[in-house]
Point group: C2
Chain length 199, copies 2
Amino acid sequence: MTTKKIRGRGRPREFDVDKGLAIAQQLFHQRGFDGVGVAELSREMGITAPSLYSAFGNKCELFERVLAKYVEEKSGWLVSTLQEENSVDVAIATLFKRASEVYTADVNQPGCLVLDGARNCNDAKACELNAKFRQATWQLLCDRIAEEHAPKAPMLASYVMTILVGLSAAARDGVSESELQAIGEIAAAGLSVHIAQMG
Amino acid sequence: MTTKKIRGRGRPREFDVDKGLAIAQQLFHQRGFDGVGVAELSREMGITAPSLYSAFGNKCELFERVLAKYVEEKSGWLVSTLQEENSVDVAIATLFKRASEVYTADVNQPGCLVLDGARNCNDAKACELNAKFRQATWQLLCDRIAEEHAPKAPMLASYVMTILVGLSAAARDGVSESELQAIGEIAAAGLSVHIAQMG
DNA sequence: CTATTTTTATATCGAGTACTATACAAATAC
DNA sequence: GTATTTGTATAGTACTCGATATAAAAATAG
């Protein structure tokens, strides 16, 4: 579905939009929405401010594009984990394990962009946008959990989100992968016990 | 130990430093270190910028004073909870329950200032400062846990911190107290199971 | 009283913010 | 070719940021 736009009429764009988005993604992930200015974004992307605004509208829309790209590229592990396992508690345990890996995979971009990219952010639109993406993740979890434990699915999804946020924040605070793994295992054990007690 | 400074020599200060700190605490708690400017701080405190700088040094030192005041006033529940219970797992369960209450007690200042006051913050000193206060909380947890489970105390303390950060973030995202309670109970169950398995 | 000390208010500082008006460059349409 | 469309570059908008220089105001010390 790559709409490559055969060729426009005027002067062709000289920079690669996708590479630009990748650079913006790195910066936003490292320091959050407020932490990166348009000046730095355009400098690192190798373009001037007018080119940036022409291509992406404004800083907030650029952030939205970055979030969409991030989810498209980096949330596969979450979706697939929810699909591949049989019981919810095992799936969530695997989820925490993989989150620990993903959140510490790149030392320059620890944690999750969706969970931490606009925390304590001043821009209302950026906050809302980020919340929308977090909500989508919650819905994904909720739907999967509801397949087995419908009545408590919303609360259990919130539990998983809370753990993921905690893991992401811990990763950003420098906690190692192995320690994150251990933390995730305990959190998963709690869920297993809770589900067993419901059964 | 209130060094009241009998009376200086020059013109006496016209504003109440402690009331000013309380106002700054509210603002920092609502929107984080970067979210509040010196202009707004001084306006809300009812003083001018030079008075603020004369009294507190700079924005970062003001933040430090606020954090110290916050811990002094609002961390009693944590310390007392760690002391009053017999077994660690029960104490931590109570801790999560009280955290759920405290983090949602004031709708205008959800979550914890220490855990979320300088997350994604641009000012390096403010970040470091905040990390120092978080570290102190971790040490408190670690010492208490080590009384019963010395070898795994650091990891278990990190687990508790991760849950608290998750609960604080959830509170800031609008999750209700009752839901936070439920989440905390599951997290506490995980810890109980883990401790039981250790023998 | 005068001299000293400290706090106050006014009015800014330079740097940084997101964003853009204008002019020029490079492509296509005809 | 000329006209049109679009991207780029320079330079700048108005605003906010944290922090201050200056001087007037209000207290004490002697």
